[in-house]
């Protein structure tokens, strides 16, 4: 079955490249409607092939049965919206389709039981970053009524065929690496009770006990006292922490330097954005048009 899997991945990649090259904006729009059909057929065929039970049986993580359906729904929305982002000729609509990509990946994060990341991605990407993009798109778009709705540089993609070929070559390489059939075959043993999620979480977290005795906390009078003088709460069990609590524990316990560096990067980009925004530039409009 291994070579069939490889062939399916390569055929889907070639068909995907073909459909995307047809869908990218260009002057002659004759065959653009064929692109979505080929793309949907290739993606759907690949997913039907992958979900046939000759592959991957006994390799699940004990997820509930509805997750499989929701995975396909959210992945389909994410991929289709991503295609629309790069094929839409109007920037505002491309940005709105990117919000759909973000929402669909938040759904994937929920399937992966990463609730905190799902909401963080929706708030930061869908909220903050996309609003900034919309602002800049509206600031920088010409509102000349005599012009057409969108400029020529929106309607004609550069090098659609070569870019699709290169991108889907990379995709084929990535897929053939990530679908390592031998490794999956070796891991297709029946599920061992000791390898279930709960047992693994327990063994993983026991290696990293809460270092609560190194912290300082405030007592009732508001004075800082060493935390070791305060009894830890009786219900502080690492195996029962929620998703956000475990991420916070991992972030502050294992990556304090990364946290500081992230703060430095944010500060530098803040200062840099102010400096860039205050730069005075000469207007070369007449030089370009003339």
């Amino acid at each position: 079955m291994e070579q069939y899997l490889e062939y399916a991945l390569y055929i889907a990649s070639v068909l995907g490249a073909l459909s995307l090259a047809l869908m990218l904006p260009k002057e002659k729009r004759g065959l653009r409607f064929v692109g979505p059909l080929i793309g949907a057929a290739s993606v759907g065929g690949l997913w039907l092939f992958l979900s046939s039970d000759s592959f991957w049986d006994g390799r699940g993580t004990g997820m509930a049965s509805w997750t499989f359906l929701y995975y396909y729904i959210f992945s389909g929305i994410a991929v289709a919206s991503a295609v629309r982002v790069i094929t839409h000729t109007r920037p505002v609509y491309a940005a709105l389709w990117f919000v759909m990509v973000v929402l669909a990946s938040a759904g994937l994060f929920l399937i992966l039981s990463a609730q905190f990341m799902a909401f963080a991605v929706v708030i930061i990407y869908g909220g903050a970053i996309l609003v900034t993009y919309m602002f800049v798109i509206m600031l920088a778009s010409q509102s000349d009524p005599s012009e057409q709705n969108n400029q020529a540089y929106e309607r004609v993609a550069k090098e659609p065929v070569m870019a699709s070929a290169a991108g889907f070559l990379l995709l084929a390489v990535l897929l053939s690496v990530s679908f390592d059939y031998d490794a999956l075959e070796a891991a297709r043993a029946p599920v061992d009770p000791a390898s279930t999620d709960a047992a693994l979480i327990e063994s993983t977290l026991q290696d990293r006990p809460l270092k609560i005795e190194t912290l300082y906390v405030t007592n009732e009078a508001g004075e800082p006292v060493p935390a070791e003088s305060v009894a830890p709460p009786a219900n502080l069990d690492p195996t029962r922490l929620a998703n956000a609590e475990r991420i916070g524990l991992d972030l502050f316990q294992s990556h304090p330097l990364g946290l500081e560096l992230a703060g430095v990067i944010l500060l530098v980009s803040l200062v840099g954005a102010v400096v860039i925004a205050k730069t005075k530039v000469p207007d070369e409009q007449h030089a370009v048009s003339g």
């Binding site: 790069i86 905190f116 990379l170 990556h255």
Partner: protein, 107 residues
């Protein structure tokens, strides 16, 4: 669907979605000529990487994957602020968002 299909959601499925998002962002970055859409496509590549990282975190039961997504979000926010500032600067200089206007930079 039969029982075996239901239970067979693997890491490879999520890696596939992440890889598709990454490659679509890459193709968009190459083909689009609008500077803002080009940077939007880099955000889409970040999104594909985030899906892969969270999937690794889930299937290896290690929270560091999700912690890295926080850092990815930080870098994406910093990049958006700087890149959009640069885009506005370039737009004020040439009154267009066409990336090919700046093709003289490639030498």
């Amino acid at each position: 669907m039969p029982e075996t299909v239901m239970d067979s959601l693997t890491l490879s499925h999520f890696l596939m979605t992440g890889a598709v998002l990454f490659c679509l962002g890459l193709i968009g970055f190459i083909t689009r000529r609008n500077l803002i859409i080009m940077f939007l496509c880099t955000e889409m590549m970040f999104q594909g990487v985030a899906v892969s990282l969270v999937a690794f975190s889930r299937f290896h039961l290690n929270d560091t994957g999700q912690t890295f997504v926080i850092f990815v979000l930080t870098i994406a926010a910093a990049e958006a602020a700087l890149a959009l500032g640069l885009v506005v600067l370039l737009f004020r200089r040439k009154r267009t968002l066409d990336a090919l206007v700046w093709s003289q930079l490639s030498g």
